[in-house]
Symmetry: C2
Subunit: 341 residues, 2 copies
């Protein structure tokens, strides 16, 4: 490694001021509010800034309590989910698609526990390292909305029940789609419909389960057995094994994610059970794999990317001072494929 060149220092506001023949204060005013300077000097200052290739210092701005153009995403989960789970990569993709056009950056931090999570939000915001947050992956009794509200941090909450916090919410509502699915099950003679839930502490997992229960109830059916599958392929496989070990075998299973359903496929196959002949199967997410699986997997399509882009869009608007919509509703959609005729 050869030694790097030290690099000429980049121009500061003082350089611009000097070149334009004014003081720092004038430059700051001209380039920010635009008021308090005559249009002539303002133009001269702008010109000087361009010639010098000046751009403001994030750090100095932050020290004065200004926004930096960054939004924070704090995730209390294993970083592996970026790789395995359908949600995060797509969600992030949606966020970035909005930010990339806006000169904004995303600050991402994966944290191991609730304590670190709380202090991370605090430091990130109180120091103006980020201007606001996108809050997702809500847990039961999640304290983040209240905490962020206390801090005065702008935020958009994704996937929370409507009206549950003081922040704008993007709701990911799959009630109808799940109802259609269960309707289908009921119509085709299923009486024992099981559910594999993702994670007992996660709100989205709970919501899917609730919708499944409600729909069964509406069609006069008892809820079948429930197992937890942790949203992974292996978890889905194990949950399916437990399901088969129980007394009466279910004739249909609604998995809380496609990945878990795929895990279920292999266990059902090994047990010599045909899909959908012996057991009908449905998933949630509609990942690419779903339509390629054999048999193609019936699932509830959820618009992860749109969730991300809407959330980002709304947060950005809030930061610009616009009044955000209290609720933005996103609805899931049933994709009937041969795994659940």
């Amino acid at each position: 490694m050869t030694a790097p060149t030290p690099g000429r220092k980049r121009p500061t506001i003082s350089d611009v001021a000097q070149r334009a023949g004014v003081t720092k204060g004038a430059v700051s005013r001209a380039l920010n509010s635009g008021t308090g300077v005559s249009s002539g000097t303002r133009e001269r200052i702008r010109q000087a800034a361009v010639e010098l290739g000046w751009s403001p210092s994030y750090a100095a701005r932050a020290l004065n309590g200004k926004a930096l153009g960054t939004i924070g995403l704090v995730v209390r989960r294993s970083p592996e989910i970026l790789d395995f789970d359908a949600f995060f990569a797509s969600f992030l993709s949606g966020i970035e698609s909005v930010l990339s056009g806006e000169e904004h950056a995303t600050v991402i931090r994966f944290v191991p526990d609730a304590q670190t999570e709380a202090t991370t939000y605090e430091r990130l915001f109180e120091d103006r390292f980020v201007d606001g947050f996108l809050v997702t992956d809500l847990r039961v009794d999640d304290e983040r909305p209240a905490m962020l509200h206390r801090m005065g941090a702008p935020a958009v909450v994704v996937g929370a029940p409507e009206g549950s916090s003081d922040f704008p919410t993007i709701s990911n509502d799959s009630r109808e789609a799940i109802r259609s699915l269960v309707h289908r099950f009921a119509d085709t003679g299923h009486r024992r419909v099981a559910h594999v839930q993702g994670d007992p502490g996660m709100l989205h997992a709970l919501q899917r389960r609730r919708h499944w229960e409600e729909a069964l109830h509406d069609f006069g059916l008892e809820p079948g057995p429930v197992e937890y599958g942790g949203y992974t392929i292996e978890g889905g496989a194990q949950a399916t094994e437990r399901l088969l070990d129980r007394g009466e075998r279910p004739t249909a299973v609604f998995y809380g994610s496609d990945l878990m359903a795929i895990g279920g496929y292999s266990v059902l196959g090994e047990a010599g059970l045909a899909i959908p002949g012996d057991v009908a199967v449905a998933g949630f997410d509609d990942i690419t794999l779903a339509s390629f699986a054999s048999p193609p997997l019936t699932t509830v399509r959820s618009r992860h990317r749109e969730l991300g882009s809407s959330a980002a869009r709304i947060l950005l608007d809030m930061l610009k001072g616009q009044e955000p919509p209290a609720v933005t509703r996103m609805t899931g959609e049933l994709r009937l494929r041969s795994s659940a005729g």
Copy 2:
């Protein structure tokens, strides 16, 4: 929305100093280098800092040219790839798995063009918004390594040819795996092996093609036709159509990514061609879908997550002042499945 509480201001170094009965300077020394203060006062200062719940201001630190504990990832691609491409989400997952244990955050920025890319790297670093970069997705004649070196920015380059820059490099070497694949093709009687390349401007795409060419040469075969598929399912499908429209049909196709191979599957199927009977197919990446496709897809497994974690690990070590290994070699691995007997 009720008005948020303004929130008590958080403690500064002066508060700590006052409480410990010393000056700001002493606090700074005690909490950073640890030298220049007696162990007694140091302890008293630490104590005061804890009691006050003090934590340093990122902004003030950055203004003094200190490291913040952030690493930058600037990506000149459509944010959609996070959703569709196999690489990025996994790579990011690897990075986060290292950073989450180290109190570091990732700053991500997707940029549309080379110009924005360059200024983004500059501003991010010169303002000490990030301490260093992970450089990936190298293009032919990529100027980023030289530029970052000029700026004096610490960086780790992923997927560049060894010795091509002054930075530590993680090489993702699939030469042997691709050679084994071509060997297999040659052994099973294939004489006309086509290639669907991802993107002509990307170094990794070029490398895969080179390895394919070299291997064919070594086994006494001429390189078959090459089409570009842009690393997407649709692109792979279209490239396959063009391949079939040409004169002599290839008996085997090596796709530069699994996604493109899956796109090829559908076109071959529609053309009434059996896999591998009429056309043998192989991909690259080993995404989850590969083993679930029908027939299961032969592919070259590439360790995306490990690429990310190694790169992050090395960059963090550099930031701590350790001398990094010049090259870390990661090798691909052939996964033979029935699409290419």
